[in-house]
Amino acid sequence: MATTLLSAASRAGLDALFRRAAAANIGPTPQRAPDVVAVASPHPPAADCVGVLAFTITSFRFRLVVMLGVNAGVLEWDDPDAEAGRRAAIDALAERGNMACGEMARDLARGGRHVGLSTPTWLRASASPLLEASAPQHLSAFELRLDNGAHLDAWVALRAYAPIEFDTLVAASADSAGELELF
């Protein structure tokens, strides 16, 4: 009999962790949090997607990949003709994604799991459908709707190597982000 590595409750818990982390970190400011809306999966990248930011969270039991599809309307900078401004806008978005995935990693590490987070990787827009091709046990898609009318697409894919539960992690975390801890 096949073992279920990821229960329905764990899938829902994983999506809840992403929703919370994305809402708290992906907006340009904390006051401009995006609406995180689940959409049907598979969800192709938007026609104006200029690239994908990929983040990987790994442990001995799972590999979680979060991709953010960066659509042209999301990138705001002063001079639309300046390549340096475009790179800076993508870098800012990569850092916001990094903080979101960092928050997810801290949530996933509760209970003593050893969890590692990659640095952000910039990929071509065509990379996001590869998540589905990798046959993860869980794949969900979201739109992160910003207050300027633009949106990012997001994909959350998990490959489990052993039975794992995420549903107990959804309770509010005691995150001390931003505070100095002296040694």
Partner: protein
């Protein structure tokens, strides 16, 4: 005058942290990863505090701290990690390497200014 080195692969973080310190009248330089950080420290003995990320593509921040103590033979330079990481094993590695403080991102100006005041100004 005390100088701060900010080490992060994100230009957004480098600009934000360095800009904050400069606005508060503190001389600040920046490096893009641990390897660059070591080079900047070799070139500038005036640095009194390093604020560093951990996960960076070329050399990570904790390896850089270990090399500051080993290769650079600098046991007194204060280092504070500014990172998304919060796991106990990494903190223990940081403590063992003589890291003085730890801040989980996001960057909050008052926290790093507090680090500067407590660690550099005593």
């Amino acid at each position: 005058m005390a100088k701060i080195l900010v080490v992060d692969d994100s230009s957004t973080v480098r600009d934000e942290v360095a800009g904050f310190f400069r606005k508060n009248g503190i001389d600040t330089i920046a490096a893009v990863d641990g390897r660059d950080g070591l080079a900047k420290l070799r070139a500038d003995p005036g640095v009194k505090l390093v604020i560093s990320d951990i996960n960076m593509p070329d050399m990570d921040g904790l390896t850089m701290v270990e090399k500051i103590r080993g290769e650079l033979r600098n046991a007194s330079l204060a280092v504070v990690m500014l990172t998304t990481e919060n796991n106990p094993q990494m903190k223990e590695r940081g403590r063992a390497a003589g890291v003085k403080g730890w801040i989980v991102k996001p960057f909050r100006g008052e926290s790093v200014l507090e680090a500067f005041r407590k660690i550099v100004q005593g």
